[in-house]
């Protein structure tokens, strides 16, 4: 029965991919012919890309590798394209190749592939509506839309409280629909976004999210998100709030000696976002509170319902347009009722230390814009805790023997 479930899951993923492709082809053939030829191919077609390589070193942590040796696994390559069918319709897609050690599964991914519909629905130009269908990005958080695009980030590694690498593949986007309304009011600019869909989870991602011992199928049933942003007139301030609700299910593979059982998990999150821009400096902060509800999966009868929270405050100072420094504090507690993690050793017979329930981090970075499309970025991270390391449910105190650990990284990036 579990094999059947696995096959159904794979089949559903294939159907979703083909559905997107068919949607694209159908729209191209119908709309391009209907549109006429007033747009040249160069007007219609945009191609962009980026490539970044670097080195990273950790001490006392399996975050990048299991040996703590200098690693060159800091490679992010992407190629994106946007095809304009007419003024209201475009097709957009991006493929990325990631090789960043233990942070994500190595390989190539379709980052996004969607039909972008931006019609002129309103007679009043102060309103704007757009919709995306296909594999859409999570654009609800400050850095989620271009998370893998190195030159859009201020540091090589984003704050893990909010941008947890273990959740990267399910938090980055989903196969579904996204809607957005923008409104210019007398007070300021409003931006309201809504999205609904699901992300495919392969075995490598399952191992990171759940456990490397698992042989069953982990799937996301849905993810539902909404956000509202507001930028007051004549200011360079933007504030926002976002909500997330997502359900997961695990179908155990009994025939494959799966040590786990069928189960479900729910993840809910509320976040506040804010950023401010000045001539030579900028501030950004995001705060989140998340709830995790787990039922069975680990073993029959397992139940957990806990709230965690975290966030970061980040500042950047530009000495010149080419050189800037970044400082950030980032904090995360897995369980609000046990912030110090004192219950964990008791619950695990001393196997799991208390520092796997939190992760606080201070980051200092330097950005150097070497040339027009070249940038060098280096960061130093001082970390206390291991609460944002994968696999989440099976911490490894052997590879992470100390609550204090450090990391530095350097990445060279090019984009066009």
């Amino acid at each position: 029965m579990n094999n059947i479930s696995h096959q159904q899951h794979v089949s559903a993923m294939i159907k979703m991919s083909w559905l997107t492709l068919v949607l694209w082809l159908g729209v191209i053939t119908t709309s391009v012919s209907a549109e006429g030829s007033e747009l040249s191919l160069s007007d219609r077609w945009q191609v962009n890309g980026f490539a970044a390589m670097g080195m990273v070193k950790t001490d006392n942590s399996s975050y990048i590798n299991d040996t703590n040796k200098l690693s060159f696994k800091l490679t992010e390559i992407g190629l994106s394209s946007r095809f304009k069918i007419n003024n209201a319709l475009s097709l957009a897609g991006q493929v990325v190749y990631l090789d960043v050690g233990n942070r994500y599964a190595k390989g190539t991914r379709v980052d996004y592939a969607f039909l972008d519909w931006h019609p002129n629905l309103f007679e009043n130009a102060n309103w704007s509506f757009k919709a995306q269908f296909g594999r859409v990005k999570n654009n609800h958080w400050l850095y989620s839309g271009a998370r893998d695009v190195p030159h859009t980030r201020l540091t090589t590694i984003l704050p893990q409280s909010v941008y947890f690498d273990g959740f990267r593949d399910v938090a980055l986007g989903s196969d579904g629909v996204a809607l957005q309304v923008d409104h210019l009011s007398t007070l300021g600019t409003w931006q309201i976004k809504w999205s609904y869909g699901k992300s495919p989870i392969n075995d490598a991602q399952r191992d990171r999210l759940f456990s490397p011992l698992a042989t069953g199928t982990l799937s996301q049933d849905y993810t539902h998100q909404m956000s509202v942003y507001f930028a007051p007139n004549n200011t360079n301030v933007e504030v926002g709030i976002s909500l997330l609700d997502s359900d997961f299910s695990y179908a155990a593979n009994v025939a494959g000696n799966d040590p786990f059982v069928n189960g479900t998990a729910t993840s809910q999150r509320i976040m506040l976002h804010g950023q401010y821009f000045a001539e030579n400096w900028e501030l950004a902060a995001e705060l989140m509170r998340e709830r995790g509800v787990f039922k069975d999966a680990l073993f029959a009868g397992f139940n957990a319902d806990q709230y965690g929270d975290g966030g970061y405050l980040q500042g950047r100072y530009l000495f010149t347009p080419q050189h800037s420094v970044i400082a950030r504090i980032d904090f995360y507690d897995m369980n609000e009722d046990d912030r110090s993690g004192s219950r964990i050793p008791l619950q695990t017979q001393g196997v799991v230390p208390e520092y796997f329930t939190y992760m606080d981090q201070a980051t200092f970075g330097w950005q150097w814009r070497i040339a027009e499309q070249w940038q060098l970025q280096t960061d130093v991270h001082l970390i206390k805790g291991a609460g944002r390391l994968t696999p989440i449910l099976f911490p490894d105190p052997v590879l992470n023997p100390n609550k204090y650990w450090t990391m530095w990284s350097m990445q060279l990036m090019y984009w066009f």
Partner: protein, 165 residues
């Protein structure tokens, strides 16, 4: 105790609200004199009222003849950030800019949009690399800017202040 253990979510939310409120007040006061009315049109050259204490003249906004130039400064800002894609009459907008290192472009961003070059550049980078926008047309000089805007229906760009005299 970890270095940041004293920071609870509630305290952090309060701190964030206080910081953002202060920044908001600071920004509103600093920009109070900027609050401007709708732009006016003069033979394709849009003129936004400027600060009384401006010692430098901001670049002039130009549009294609097909555009009805009844837009606010707020609308202008969102057009050059890639957010608004249609003119009030329903015509699609084509944004034309100079290279972002050009002094005229930087002057336009700061004096006309009341934003900062790195801020606008990041907005566009995020939009382009997440598939949400067509990049603006980038031209090499003000002659190319003028020609492109004049010859592209729905286009908007900018010229030095003296170019409109």
């Amino acid at each position: 105790m970890t270095p940041f253990r004293f920071i609870t979510l509630n305290a952090a939310i309060g701190l964030m609200i206080v910081i953002m409120s202060l920044l908001l007040l600071f920004s509103i006061n600093a920009n109070a004199a900027f609050l401007s009315s709708d732009v006016e049109n003069s033979a394709q050259i849009l003129s936004v009222p400027t600060r009384s204490n401006d010692h430098t003249h901001p670049p002039r906004v130009i549009t294609n003849n097909s555009v009805v130039p009844d837009i606010s400064e707020q609308f202008l800002r969102e057009v050059f950030s890639g957010k608004m894609r249609y003119w009030p009459d329903g015509q699609a907008i084509t944004v034309v800019v100079l290279d972002h290192n050009s002094p005229l472009h930087q002057s336009f961003i700061q004096l006309r949009l009341r934003m900062f070059p790195y801020q606008v550049q990041r907005i566009w980078n995020k939009r382009i690399y997440s598939g949400r926008a067509d990049p603006p047309i980038v031209v090499n000089d003000i002659n190319a800017m003028r020609n492109t805007v004049v010859n592209t229906p729905g286009a908007i760009g900018y010229l030095p202040f003296s170019a409109g005299q």
